[in-house]
Amino acid sequence: MMRVAWAWVRGARGDRTAQARSQETGMWIRGVYAKETLEAFRDKRSLLVLVVLPALIMPVVTLGIPYLEQRQQHMITTTTPEVAVVGKAPNLIHLAYTSKLIKPVQTTNARKALQARRVLAVLELPPNFEALVARDAQPHVGVLYDASNPESVAARTRVIDLISRYSQAVVAQRLIARHINPRDLLPVVLDERNVATQRQLSGLLLASLLPFFIAMWAVVGGMSLAVDEAAGEKERGTLESLLVTPPTREAIVVGKFLSVLTASVGAVIVVVIAMMVSLRWGYPYVLHTSQKLDVSLPIGTAIVMLGVAILFAALMSGVQLAMSIYAKSPREAQQFITPLYFLTVLPALAVQYITEWQSAAWAYILPVLNTFFAFRELLLGTVNWGHLILASVSSAFYAALAVELAIILMSRESVIFRT
């Protein structure tokens, strides 16, 4: 890699021999790249992973899952849960009916009914509950619920809300009886307003989704090509035929690397477009609450993000190709690459929970994490150009190291003929 770059630099300075060498190396790289890319385009599995899967999966993930979540929330908020009431409290029951917070039911064994999910919660009242309230005895009431059932958890919230309203009504009555205005207990009224713009809110939404999917598809997009182009060639018996031709190992590896990178970046672009289309035009139809959300990426941000994503994809492509060259067979190559997938996706998820690192310059030279921190800044509109340059330069350096490793492995007899 370094030799290829050095020959190119010398050629640019006017060294005729270096110019001829660079031209020849360029021709070899183009030859390998064109052949690998042509084969990839003819491979239905590659096309499925690169185009069809992202185009189908992204709308399902970005719209389908939030839709199901919203549907469940809607059901929970609009359906009055059946709650077993143990004990007597006519005023409380009346409030329950009029507020429609819960639907009180009577059962012989309330706890068993809750476990059997015939009721969603149990409200346990002490004997003579309302008499105790009337005597200011501060009676204790119990709420039983099933934490493993989201509907039961929602019913618990409604029971707590009911008890709170009942308590407020009792307090109001007591204050009035003592000639005190209940408003005297509220000297301050809180008025809260959200100042975040729709663009910022959409940035937050994208910052929570995009890095994860870019990470995923930067690996998945190039995986089948990386496996096929090195371990696959070993298995098919075509690698030896290639190695006895004039191209240097550098030219062969760089040509293959570029084709893996093309697939990886292609998959990332398809994923981002599919996600943006889904969010921008699908959200308002599927999710009623997001009708005002402005999901868009300014063109400048999109271009910078693409640049950062290409460098990240280059690192992933280089590492995958090196692993595939080292592997004895495509099966072994896939076994090597699968952990890489998790090592990449986990930081993409973690980055939103380690925001305290976001302001530290050193975080932008950590491989993989640097890319996701840079994405986050870009999407949240808090760009620090120093951070971006650090992340880009370090990613380019790691990618060059990965390609160099692939070249070294391709040049080793013990790796090429590893059995």
């Binding site: 084969e39 031709t245 004039p246 003929f417």
Partner: protein, 265 residues
């Protein structure tokens, strides 16, 4: 009974008794290859001239493929030296690769390329310009009777046709030295015959052919000289007639004796 190795060394000008008037194209001198503790090749020396077919005969694991891999620059010799078309295999590897055409053992094909694309790919790697490459593809395909299948994906080819594509790839740049490692292995009778006819054609065209095989009949029909390799050493080397005259045995008997001797030693 044992037969001692008989390797005729060429002089510095590249001429030997058997190579008079022809160009010395392959010259291996005491080639050795060790893989950690395993000594795969223990000193192989031979020569081959233009218009000659040299057979490397030996059982599986004898060191034939390792020797060919050293001569084709894929493996670096542990010791010894070799020159192909005047170029050192270690220090001038790229020049060697430009001069040779190689059909490796069990060579596969790119299944998602057509025959034409696979041959064109090889031509591009050898740096052939388009106006030379395209007529050359047609010429080779005609000679190999591949023309009408040239635009089909090679995945749909028979094994014999795939081997023909590999032969075409090895010859696209008109090499002066051709290495064929078990070229008829696994082929049906017709395909094997077609490949053998091609070996004779290479010879007639003045190429130097190194043929690795363990099929005695094939060696007898195609080779001008053979080197019997066993246990990583050339046990005997010379023309078929000379070997037979020297031992009073046919080639198969000589081969078996060499292999048995290598096991004992």
């Amino acid at each position: 009974m044992s037969i001692t190795p008989q390797v005729r060394q060429p002089d510095r000008a590249g001429r030997t008794e058997s190579g008079e008037g022809r160009q010395l194209l392959v010259e291996a001198r005491d080639l050795q290859k060790k893989f950690k503790s395993y000594h795969a090749v223990r000193g192989v020396s031979f020569t081959c001239y233009s218009g000659e077919v040299f057979g490397l005969l030996g059982p599986n694991g004898a060191g034939k493929t390792t020797t060919i891999r050293m001569l084709t620059t894929i493996l670096r010799p542990t010791s010894g030296s070799a020159r192909i078309a005047g170029h050192d295999v270690v220090h001038e590897a790229e020049a060697v690769r430009r001069a040779i055409g190689v059909l490796p053992e069990n060579a596969g094909v790119y299944g998602r390329l057509t025959g034409r694309e696979a041959i064109r790919y090889a031509g591009r790697l050898y740096g052939l310009p388009r106006d030379v490459l395209e007529p050359r593809i047609v010429e080779i395909a005609d000679a190999l009777e591949l023309t009408k299948h040239l635009d089909r994906l090679t995945d749909t080819y028979s094994k014999g046709m795939k081997q023909k594509v590999n032969v075409a790839r090895a010859l696209i740049h008109n090499p002066s030295v051709v290495f064929l490692d078990e070229p008829t292995s696994g082929l049906d009778v017709i395909s094997a015959r077609s490949v053998r006819d091609f070996v004779l054609r290479f010879k007639a065209e003045g190429r130097c052919v190194i043929l690795s095989t363990h099929v005695m009949e094939e060696a007898e029909r195609l080779c001008d000289r053979v080197g019997i390799i066993a246990g990583g050493r050339i046990r005997s080397e010379g023309t078929l007639d000379a070997l037979k005259a020297e031992t009073g045995k046919d080639l198969e008997e000589i081969f078996v004796a060499m292999v048995e001797e290598s096991i004992v030693t």
